[in-house]
Symmetry: C2
Subunit: 160 residues, 2 copies
DNA sequence: TCCCATTTATCAGAGGGCTGATATATTAGT
DNA sequence: ACTAATATATCAGCCCTCTGATAAATGGGA
């Protein structure tokens, strides 16, 4: 009994299939999507978190670092890391809020705008691939579940 | 019109709800689960990736670094980072494969075994919380979808 | 008014994840 | 038998993510 010699499963087999832990399956699915996104975005010269940050700044107007962190479900420190890189790349600017004195408002530069425009089609292709895996009658319930996971497991822990 | 002043949504609202991109919702859900897991495992003195590695070594017997990487859906380099930390912590040993000469086989130490035993209940609590968010009639289809995402978006990219 | 709790930004340090590159071992092919 | 392809381990460097700690600005109450 020196060790188990069972053949190792591939994605979709054994514990890597429908019998695995939900947390493992969610992790596996997320890893596949993240890697697909990074591969798709690499030619545009941008990472997935950077793409998310630029998208959010564009979608919500000018954000503070703290607001970006909340929207992206990351810590303010992480948001700071990402935005610092984007500022260094010339895609974002940080300028002091006129009425607040401590808040720094993020804004897209022309570089950032064109970077985002160039990257978006690649990200949308992945989104389409992802949507294609989802039977039409499951899309609604699936979206609701994903949202529920985030609110149920995420919000309670706001007691930091 | 200096910028949009729309109130920012919380998890579950607006684009952060059922109308958001699937990739965003999946990311948001995964982030909530990962953070819940890290918070649950911290008292046991172990990180989520370390827990996954120990669990896989225990489940499949003695693994090589490359095998661990495939099972955990990470690169061999990343697996090496994690196992190096676990070896330094005394939870794993790396010993040369008797019949291969290059492969290093990972094995749990007593420390690793008790660490895993101590951590597992915390992880299982999160798994139960996660399962509780899923209506019984959706569990089957949801598991199948998560697996399909991993196989459809993950396997094709094996053309590295 | 003064103090305090909250919010924000940011530094420091650690772990995890990636790509790229290198060295070695095994296996397949010729 | 020699060579080429494959597999493994690992170094280096970068980005992302976290926790912990520090500092500054705001706003509310005693």
């Amino acid at each position: 009994m020196s060790g188990k010699t069972a053949k190792l499963p591939r994605a979709g087999e054994g514990k890597r299939g429908v019998d695995g832990h939900l947390a493992y399956l969610l992790r596996q699915a997320h890893a596949a999507v993240r890697q697909a996104l990074e591969k798709a975005l690499a030619p545009a010269g941008i990472t997935h978190p950077q793409f998310v940050a630029l998208t959010l700044v564009r979608a919500y107007g000018s954000l503070s670092g703290a607001e970006l962190a909340r929207l992206a479900v990351i810590t303010p420190q992480t948001a700071n890391t990402i935005t610092s890189n984007l500022v260094r790349m010339g895609a974002l600017t940080r300028s002091p809020d006129p009425s607040h004195g401590k808040v720094l408002r993020l804004a897209l530069t022309e570089t950032g705008r064109s970077l985002l425009a160039r990257a978006r089609p690649h990200a949308e292709a992945v989104e389409r691939d992802l949507a294609a895996t989802l039977p039409a009658e499951l899309e609604g319930p699936m979206r609701q579940w994903l949202v529920r996971v985030a609110t149920d497991l995420g919000d309670p822990s706001r007691e930091r």
